[in-house]
Amino acid sequence: MLLEVQGLEVHYGGIRAVKGIDLAVAEGELVCLIGANGAGKTSALKAICGLHARRGRVTYAGQALEGLPVFELPRRGLVMVPEGRGVFAQLTVAENLAMGAYARSDTEEIAGDLARQYASFPRLKERRHQTAGTLSGGEQQMLAIGRALMSRPKLLLLDEPSMGLAPLMVAKIFDIVREVAARGVTILLVEQNAKLALELAHRGYVMESGSITLADGAKELLANPKVREAYLGEDAG
């Protein structure tokens, strides 16, 4: 397993936002974590990266992440695209992409990767001298993903990439996620849009009020009546 999480707990003051979850992602897999707003998905993801104090074990590429500072993660190939995209609004598109490669020192290959991002996101190339804050939501999401790819991730954690985007743009972003996965990047995708996420993923976890209540193959979850009723907006009958 590339990423293994055991008994992960997150506390906010007296509130347990994540109540001891287990999950695992194998190399090359695209796994999604779905659930309603407030189920604790984002907290879990942030805790995996060490952005929240956590209890439990997180193992990445065979090594415990205990005590590892956040800034070491991209050097080991673990990169998160945070909820709300987190682009640097006052930096230009080009500077944002350069920040993605901050942890790398192989200048020549970085230039090649930059050209590759511009090839897959022509919009970003057109706007490379604009500040990221002037981009539309969808373009910002492309930038956030492109920036993450600049670090050459092994494991990409995507937090709600479809959030706040128009349906057409959501479809585009999911196409991009599919392409990235096809290139061999392992992905853990957190989404509220359960249908799209499950159609894309190999496996899925369903999270409800801080606990994982279902874990199964994506096809099986899509067919599961409980999932259909609660997350796909369909009547069980």
């Binding site: 990266c49 952005l51 500072p69 956040v70 800034f71 070491e72 993660l73 991209p74 050097r75 990169v79 998160m80 945070p82 987190g86 640097f88 609004a89 006052q90 930096l91 500077e95 350069a98 920040m99 993605g100 901050y102 942890a103 920036r147 670090s151």
Partner: protein
């Protein structure tokens, strides 16, 4: 002599120095939203260290420029060391504390540094060793000295260098990224503690240079010189929009000019004998070309703070600032 042009030249010189000091405030504020009230003391330490070194070297008869450069070269690392130490021990432990805590810590550090300087250099005023031969040039009826020209040139160079560093280098990009979103910067591999420490180091180096320039300009240095200078530079940073680097440069220069023009004209404008209806009341004092001046140029320091108050009342985000409201 043209008073207006003369005061603009004086104001530009002083304002350029304010700008260099204001950059230290604004860079630190931009990255951790802390007003580093100890920054003025770092300027003072820069002046004291440089004066000491220059005083030791003065009798050897080396070229004055070389001696001053050696003084600056000693002041910069000394100030950077102070900057790093203060950040590490007075601010970093309080980074997650409520905003008031690091602010109070900053005031405490300022008092400590000032009194350390008093213990080291005594309460006496140190005078700048007379090694630079002052030359005065007349331009359009106003006088400008070689020291003023040097100060202006150095300030322009320092600010250009800083702009290159902040907008064109990897560290500068990381600094701006950290200022905007430290959490995401960390996820991209930026060691935030190192970037913040570097910011303090750069600010302190600028303070050292500013300290030497101020000391050279006035010819004196004392352990208290940092507090009023620091406050004025802070006012300049607020005027430009705190957190905004071009703003600090603009604010510093404008503040210097306002202050110099204010000092140049306040005596004239508050000379009650100018005003006929008052002059007749004060005929005894005003007779035979007498004066009755309410405020003289010793009120110079007031202008910086009047500007500060006006900015805070009418444009709290400053001239170039955009989004201070949600942070202040």
């Amino acid at each position: 002599m043209d008073i207006f042009l003369q005061q603009v030249i004086n104001g530009l010189t002083l304002g350029a120095v304010y700008a260099v000091v204001a950059l230290g405030y604004t860079m630190v504020y931009g990255i951790i939203q802390l007003i580093n009230f100890a920054h003025g003391e770092v300027v003072m330490i820069g002046a004291m260290v440089a004066f000491t070194v220059i005083g030791v070297l003065a009798p050897y008869g080396w070229p004055p420029l070389l001696v001053v450069l050696i003084g600056v070269a000693c002041a910069i690392p000394a100030c950077m060391l102070v900057g790093f130490t203060v950040e590490r021990f007075a601010y970093r432990p309080l980074r997650r504390a409520p905003r008031l805590a690091p602010l109070i810590s900053a005031i405490g550090v300022s008092i400590i540094l000032q009194h350390l300087a008093m213990l080291i250099w005594s309460r006496n005023v140190m005078s700048f060793p007379q090694i630079i031969e002052s030359r005065t040039y007349i331009v359009f009826g106003a006088a400008i000295t070689n020291v003023q020209i040097a100060i202006l040139a150095i300030c322009v160079l320092v600010m250009a260098g800083l702009a290159l560093l902040v907008y064109r280098t990897r560290l500068g990009t990381a600094m701006r990224a950290t200022a905007q979103n430290p959490q995401v910067a960390g996820l991209m591999g930026v060691d935030i503690n190192r970037v913040i420490a570097s910011t303090f180091g750069i600010g302190a180096a600028l303070a050292a240079i500013a300290g030497v320039m101020v000391g050279t300009y006035y010819g004196i240095a004392q352990y208290t010189m940092g507090s009023i200078l620091g406050l004025k530079a802070f006012a300049a940073a607020v005027l430009g929009g705190i957190g905004n680097i071009p703003g600090a440069m603009l604010g510093g220069v404008l503040l210097g000019i306002v202050e110099a023009l204010g000092a140049g004209y306040i005596g004239d404008l508050t000379n009650l004998c100018r005003y006929d209806w008052l002059a007749s009341l004060l005929s005894e004092r005003c007779a035979n070309g007498g004066h009755f001046i309410l405020f003289g140029s010793n009120y110079q320091d007031v202008f910086a703070f009047v500007v500060l108050i006006l900015v805070l009342v009418f444009r709290p985000s400053g001239l170039l600032g955009e989004r201070v409201g949600d942070r202040a």
